[in-house]
Amino acid sequence: MKVSSSIRRITTISKKELVEFARDWRTIFALLIIPLLMFPLLFIIFPLLLASEAAELDAIEVNVVIQSNDFPSDLAEQLNGSGIELNYEPLVMESNLSSPLEDGDRLRNGSIDAVLRMKENGSVWDYALLYMSTSERSQEARTRALTVLFDWEENETERRLVDAGLDPDETLRPLKWDGEISNSDVATSGEQAGMVLSLFIPLVLSVWTFSSAIQPSIDMTAGERERGTLEALLGLPCSRNELLFGKWLAVATITGIGVLLQLVGLLFAIGYLATTDFLTVPTLSVGSIVFIGIAVLLFAIMVVAFELALAMRAHSVKEAGSILGPALLLILFPALFTQVINLDGIETFWFSIPVVNVLLALRELLMDRFVVEHIVTWIVSSGVYAMAAALYAARQFKREDIVTSLS
């Protein structure tokens, strides 16, 4: 009876928090709509935008000045056919062709996109290609010119080898791959996709879980304190622990829905990318999915309790924001660090370090790897950390000074 009353009070607190949350459309947009749209925008719209920009760049004709006294006619022909408008000038220097001299000004003011200097030096051609790396047109001119130059060099090399009575193929490529290179990787495309995703899904999940819990955590603790609603609540026949659990449940629900919507957006984006052969759908067993769920849940318990505790220590929304904002680094740094840890032969102790343990677990699970020792270690350690965070939060909620507000 007592337990059921307690559960009833916890759900009442939680429901009220969710109703209040749902009535603020700006918060709904920030915490639910944005995560849903983030990955589709990043993986679908952004590449489309990039492709359109690249197509626009392809369509332009760049202006390259050739400075040479004996420029090869076949090379000029090839350059002409690559979207490059050529202008010829005599080469006035004998050495150090890379020195820009007065051509630097012309490149800077955009009157030309690149300068190709070329001089025959016995059986070798000396050359330099001047450009400006901060100009997209100049970069494009350089890329196009270099592509043609390297083709021309290859043809010239082969011609010289033939003239010398050698087989260019045997001379230039004495080591040859036999068969299809793609067949040599025993990892399936699904496993490869899992590996690619394991490099950023844990990062995104952890950072989003933490950051999306910041606003509701502050609102439900320091916000209540600042608005003076907490005192009335503390006089009610519900314990501080019930209050904490009710608020925790509400923040965890909001964060959980946000993360879930983010994953839906991600899966949609992956599904789209799979149709373009850019990425295939990762192979995940049911076990992996279940353990991923457990990992995220334990992480959320810990993070939300920790954030509620920190926010409850603050006297105002402003103060809570200035504590929780930088606290994001506690997640971000381990998350970035975890991306570079080699999972092959990794020592078990890594799976007991806070935050790192869950992120490594997610990486392993996304690659469909089951190492019992690792799983037991991260579940036990995460459980302990979640419990510690909950106890810390409970301690903060039991402080008497939380009843006072800044006024």
């Binding site: 009353s5 009833r8 009070r9 009442t12 607190i13 009220k16 109703v19 209040e20 009535r23 603020d24 608005r227 003076g228 609603t229 907490l230 005192e231 009335a232 609540l233 503390l234 006089g235 009610l236 026949p237 519900c238 006297h315 402080r399 008497e400 000074d401 009843v403 006072t404 507000s405």
Partner: protein, 273 residues
């Protein structure tokens, strides 16, 4: 005198080294409207929070007549803090229902009681409105309804008329008087003597954390041999009133150092605390 409902036994409440209340003993009896009168910082709010079970005494105890600790019997209390504590994105009724549900009162029961009192407070039409934009008076009335909806044995009101316009203050006082006439028990904190005299059947004067007097208005006059309550109050509180009691956790050394460094001296040369 009615049956004793609540008893405060030798209660001391300290925040750090500051004693907000010192060895306070009193009892609240059924049917009484008790006025807690004192200047700002006297300890009225601290005492009310102790009565509401929000604070735990540093020494002594607050118990109900059956011996149970007040924090275990909060369902018998109705509390209106000075800040009212309404959620602006909820309607007035949703605010009331939220607290009633946490008291374990069925919605229908609390709705009927809310309608009954809302009629008297002339706020019935606003029960379905979001409290954002409510005037101070409307907020106070809603908070009162919220505290009454679960039929508490004792109503604790912290400066319920502070900041209210004349009409709203009159309505609130009138409701409290009606509650007293129908056998309700109310503890009413105020720093206005005239209000306490008009509403309360018993007045407790608190000064610098101590109970200086406790009795009926006429009893206080008799005790102090004065002609009116104002004179009685002045004669009981001759020592200088403290300005405030810091109930927050003390600042850390680093925070104190930074506060001092970032606060300019006042023209008179005094440094702010």
């Amino acid at each position: 005198m009615g049956v004793e409902l609540l008893r405060v036994e030798g209660v001391t409440k300290s925040f750090g080294h500051i004693e907000a209340l010192a060895d306070v003993s009193l009892s609240i009896n059924e049917g009484e409207i008790v006025g807690l009168v004192g200047s700002n910082g006297a300890g009225k709010t601290t005492l009310l929070r102790l009565l509401a079970g929000v604070y735990t005494p540093t020494d002594g105890k607050v118990v109900l007549s059956d011996g149970s600790k007040v924090e275990d019997a909060r369902h018998r209390l109705g509390v209106v803090p000075e800040s009212t504590g309404l959620y602006s994105r909820l309607t007035a009724w949703e605010n009331i229902r939220y607290h009633s549900r946490l008291y374990g009162t069925p919605d229908e029961e609390s709705w009927n009681r809310t309608l009954f009192f809302a009629d008297r407070l002339d706020i019935k039409e606003s029960l379905g409105r979001h409290t954002k934009g409510f005037s101070r008076g409307m907020r106070q009335k809603t908070a009162l309804l919220r505290a009454l909806a679960h039929a508490p044995d004792i109503l604790l009101l912290d400066e319920p008329t502070a900041g209210l316009d004349v009409t709203s203050a009159r309505t609130v006082r009138s409701l409290v008087q009606q509650l007293g006439e129908t056998g309700g028990t109310v503890v009413y904190s105020t720093h206005q003597l005239a209000e306490a005299e008009a509403v309360c059947s018993r007045i407790i004067i608190i000064h610098n954390g101590e109970v200086r007097a406790d009795g009926t208005p006429s009893g206080l006059l008799e005790q102090t041999s004065t002609a009116n309550l104002e004179e009685a109050y002045v004669s009981l509180t001759t020592d200088k009133a403290r300005t405030r009691v810091v109930t927050d956790k003390p600042l850390s050394k680093l925070a104190k150092w930074w506060q001092k460094l970032s606060t300019p001296k006042t023209p008179g040369g005094d440094e702010s605390e």
